[in-house]
């Protein structure tokens, strides 16, 4: 991959990798975020991202790639939280809270057992988009393409479950399968973006651009691309600002995405257009 870049630009190859990570990772997170926000699963998103972080640390400990460990743990988290919440023995927020605390406990346990990799481990917590490798960019690209294929193929099923799961079930959609499929997709998204965005910050990049897009869009068909554009825009703008002012890249990206959401909220047609809130006569 590096041979494709002219020698004079080689010192800036890290910026090209960061821009591509922002393109694939930012878009991917934002698209996943549209479903998380619509289904009011924001706290579940936090839980999955921390599950992915614990899994990545487990990967370092076990000597496998951190992303592999992250995917494994986030899938286990998704598989655990769904039935706990669905069976109704405990409330969904309690189930998510219990798994969240379990994942945090495991993460700190693995962190304690990893003195040799402490810096690498903390890198997974904060992430660093400026140090992503071409292999990680490749993983992000593969995940973005995979997510696009799944969403395109099962658009109506995912839309139905995300908007009104009871109706989906009543019309003969296997809603449980689709729901767990969405959770697994979210887990994979959180896992693959871990090295570039970090376990703590990835969640902001999932929720903020999506919540901003939903202030403007009335349909999934427009909200998904709008969120992707905002997600990528936040990544690139954050990168530019961090490069220009020597700021931490991940934190700058997250702060930019928060500003984008705040501006969208203030200017949102949902707030200005009364037709959206008052039924027409």
């Amino acid at each position: 991959m590096t041979t494709l870049i002219p020698e004079s630009l080689m010192p800036y190859a890290y910026l090209a990798r960061a821009a591509l990570a922002g393109l694939f990772g930012g878009g991917l997170c934002a698209v996943a975020g549209v479903y998380i926000v619509t289904m009011r699963l924001s706290f579940l998103g936090v839980c999955l991202s921390h599950g992915a972080f614990a899994g990545a640390l487990f990967g370092l400990l076990a000597g496998v790639h951190p992303v592999t460990g992250a995917i494994l743990f986030s899938l286990l988290t998704a598989a655990g939280v769904g039935p706990l919440a669905d069976r109704g023995e405990v409330g969904p927020d309690t189930a998510i809270g219990i798994l969240f605390s379990l994942m945090m406990g495991l993460a700190f346990l693995f962190l304690g057992l990893l003195p040799a990799h402490r810096e690498e481990a903390l890198g997974l917590l904060w992430g660093n988009i400026l140090t992503v490798s071409w292999a990680e960019v490749g993983i992000l690209l593969a995940a973005a393409v995979g997510a696009m294929v799944v969403i395109t193929l099962f658009f109506k099923e995912i839309q139905s479950v995300a908007c009104h799961r009871e109706v989906a079930r009543a019309t003969g959609i296997p809603d449980t399968v689709v729901f767990y499929g969405i959770l697994c997709l979210l887990g994979v998204v959180m896992s693959v973006t871990l090295p570039s965005i970090g376990g703590l910050l990835v969640f902001s990049l999932v929720v903020n651009p999506a919540a901003a897009a939903l202030q403007w869009c009335r349909r999934f068909r427009t909200a998904l691309p709008a969120a992707a554009v905002l997600g990528v825009g936040c990544c690139w703008a954050g990168l530019a600002l961090s490069w220009r002012f020597s700021l931490p890249a991940g934190a700058t990206i997250v702060l930019v995405s928060t500003v984008v959401f705040a501006v969208s909220l203030v200017l949102s047609p949902r707030r200005r257009n009364t037709q959206w809130t008052v039924p027409a006569a």
Binding site: V34, V37, T38, M39, R40, L153, F154, K156, E157, Q159, S160, A162, C163, H164, E166, V167, A168, R169, A170, T171, G172, I173, P174, L214, C217, R218, R219, F220, T222, A223, Q275, W276, T277, V278, P279, A280
Partner: protein, 273 residues
């Protein structure tokens, strides 16, 4: 009344449902025929909604035999197949009002199960959904976000979504319970037109017997999870039977039911005077 040779699309035999150690349905047996309009009435907690849940496979019976369209709805695979052919209108439409979905899209989603996993909607799907919206008077709402509708409009959209399924069975759970009085009358009129809009067997569960239209051929009375009796609508809505059915609801409710209720509905088409 339908001929006795018509095929039963719903067959319940000795159905028992237990929830938290309490029997919600006790030994309920009933056959419902193709194209029949059946009303199920009874006081709160009688097990009416549970009965609909059993029919569409969302509630598993502890005992008894259930066949719906020749399928066992409690079985995971057969339940999904059955629900694709059953339109269900829930009492309360639960969804996130901020969800990015328009009314037209929501009605079209009624056909999502029928179309099959991973298959795109066809032009005929869109045409069926458009017709269902026209039939239920929600065509003009097609471009509105679902979260901006009133309770009555949401119920109409739910009925349109169920009709878009081209169901063989249409289940209505207290369709007028959560709407304001003005919208209620509109919904009652729509219910009266339903048999002309669909050839489906219709089962309408309601707390208020007077909202059942004249097209409703048979009324079943459910109390404490037991099927008390069933018969032609005019006979079942006799004052003494209603008094017995609703005796525990309090005198004011019994009086309002006996008097034809219906300050808020007026009389539905064909209500006995």
């Amino acid at each position: 009344m339908r001929s006795s040779t018509a095929t039963p699309v719903i067959q319940l035999d000795g159905v028992v449902v237990v929830r938290d150690g309490r029997s919600v349905l006790r030994d309920v047996s009933v056959d419902i025929l193709t194209g029949e309009f059946v009303g199920v009435i009874g006081p709160n907690g009688a097990g009416k909604s549970t009965l609909l849940g059993v029919i569409c496979g969302l509630v598993c019976p502890a005992a008894g035999r259930v066949r719906v369209l020749g399928l066992n709805p409690a079985d995971w695979r057969e339940g999904i197949q059955a629900r694709r052919r059953i339109g269900l209108v829930a009492q309360i439409q639960r969804f996130n009002p901020q969800a990015p979905i328009l009314v037209g899209e929501s009605v079209l989603l009624g056909r999502a199960g029928l179309r099959g996993l991973g298959r795109r909607f066809s032009r005929s799907d869109r045409e069926v959904a458009r017709r269902a919206m026209a039939d239920t008077g929600v065509e003009k709402l097609a471009e509105r976000p679902l979260g901006t509708l009133s309770g009555g409009e949401l119920q109409r959209v739910a009925i349109a979504r169920a009709l878009a399924q081209e169901p063989e069975i249409l289940l209505l759970d207290e369709p007028t319970a959560s709407v304001d009085p003005a919208a209620r009358q509109d919904l009652v009129n729509l219910l009266a037109r339903l048999p002309r809009l669909t050839g489906a067997a219709i089962v309408c569960v309601t707390h208020d017997p007077w909202m059942l239209p004249a097209a409703c051929e048979r009324v079943l009375m459910l109390k404490h999870g037991r099927l008390l009796r069933g018969g032609p609508r005019a006979r079942m809505l006799a004052a003494e039977l209603l008094e017995e059915l609703y005796a525990e609801e309090g005198s004011s409710f019994v009086l309002s039911v006996m008097s034809g209720a219906s300050d808020c509905y007026g009389r539905s088409e064909g209500s006995p005077s």
